[in-house]
Symmetry: C2
Amino acid sequence: MTARFTRRFLIAAALLSALCRPGLAQTDPLPSWNDGAVKKSITDFVARVTTQGGADFVPPEQRIATFDNDGTLWCEQPMYFQLAFALDRAKAMAAKNPALQSKQPFKGLLAGDKKAVADTGKKGIEQVLTVTHSGMTTQEFTRSVLDWIGSAKHPRFQRPYTELVYQPMLELLGYLRANGFKTFIVSGGGIEFMRPWAETVYGIPPEQVVGSSGVVKFQMGADGKPVLVKEPKVEFVDDGPGKPVGINRFIGRRPIFAFGNSDGDQQMLQWTAAGDGARLMGIVHHTDAEREYAYDRQSKIGKLDKALDEGTAKGWTVVDMKRDWKKVFAFQ
Amino acid sequence: MTARFTRRFLIAAALLSALCRPGLAQTDPLPSWNDGAVKKSITDFVARVTTQGGADFVPPEQRIATFDNDGTLWCEQPMYFQLAFALDRAKAMAAKNPALQSKQPFKGLLAGDKKAVADTGKKGIEQVLTVTHSGMTTQEFTRSVLDWIGSAKHPRFQRPYTELVYQPMLELLGYLRANGFKTFIVSGGGIEFMRPWAETVYGIPPEQVVGSSGVVKFQMGADGKPVLVKEPKVEFVDDGPGKPVGINRFIGRRPIFAFGNSDGDQQMLQWTAAGDGARLMGIVHHTDAEREYAYDRQSKIGKLDKALDEGTAKGWTVVDMKRDWKKVFAFQ
């Protein structure tokens, strides 16, 4: 061999060895999932739709996978994390704003008077959401989300909220992407609340996050720099029958794989199921009070009733958290 | 060498030769663009933002490029192609529907009576859009778009409308993608009108198409299969100040590269310009009556007036179609 030939050969061999790294295919891509029917339904499905020439093969550009967020990718108890953000933020805003301090529910928030806050009911929550989610630019809102998510802690686990993502679901997202899927969040939560951290935490870029939104308005600033201002008006509720609508609007393609955990995901799962060819509909059933929470039909948050019946009747992939997950959170 | 070794070597060499195909880097990525300041502004920009370690380097996930469609990626004269679709389709629908036949503008469309149609004015156009764009499922609408786009011909060029895309812009889309950009359409046109063919024609998947939309409603069919029904109600107008709003809503990240051709793109270009770091704002100026059309400040369609002034004053990349494009359409 000439020197040039040898060099080419060595580079080629290195490339080859990287491509053929032994055992890569054998490594379990879902190590936090216990072996069983649920895990097998997922790996079987992925094998079927990715086998070129197979009856169920799906071209990569059509491998759309959608995931609910609250209760599916991360914890949603004892309250939606976005509501915790809004309450914390409203308290901080009230501390600096005398006009807010004088009225409920802000006065109660500042004083730690839970009863006074609760007494304001639905109207009080709306006021908290309005104050914390509008009247600022999109950039200012993003900053407030990042400030909170970088410092707040979950009341039970005493960990940052971003550590309360489900390790098995992180593995599932990565496994799907490694198999050519494009992963999306389709959540009832606020789109602008999720986007600032979804890429770091889930590997899902902002343009693949679908969620509820408020009206936003373009304004030219006095300095000649335009801003987008968040207005106190709901634009779109990406929940229940809104989820297929959101999928149609943002993605424009029907998923072949969808995961949820509550009745708010039922229509997304139905919409996914109604397409042609192989598809997988999954439900996370919260059955593990010890490691996380146990709730379903009677829960105020993440109620799972009709979708559980439909999923069971139709043979969807119903994850029993206690039985199917080796661990729930990475820190456990 | 053993036989196995030889085989590995041959595979490796083939791999290497594919990777190192000579001249790949030297080939002009924009062959339909004439050399000059405009072409150079584009290639210089791309070089700057992709040079690792350079002052203007932008990580791939932030390389968002947005393109208006009508008049920027394909022709928009003598009328927006979506309007041509609506008129053709309304005529076909009227031919099968006695209730429509008896009233204007449908009667006039059937009879080829242009004056009668024109006399119905804005209200007539609204009726045509309502009839052709609502009262059906999203799937039915998609089929009607694909039927039309596969058969209709442009009145001047006598070619399918999908051949009236600008060859230089196709090259630009491919060039950006080859350099790690994610390319989006951000158009005043209907999102569901563009998605069915945008992937084939532009290489832009449905989830990267942003546009105007009508309200869509989830309904459970009698057969237990859900459908999405298009309602006769405007949901979002992705034009003018709506473009930065649409970008924020769908993409959630500010573009570093944006191209338009009319005053309806001005706010998108301003929004792009107002971000930090290197960015390129481009305008297609239609100056070529011979190969395409020549129009700007006085045009009813694609009026380019204020954006041309701002682009010129601020040194944006203003394409002079006649001067800067070697060819306009691939068939020329």
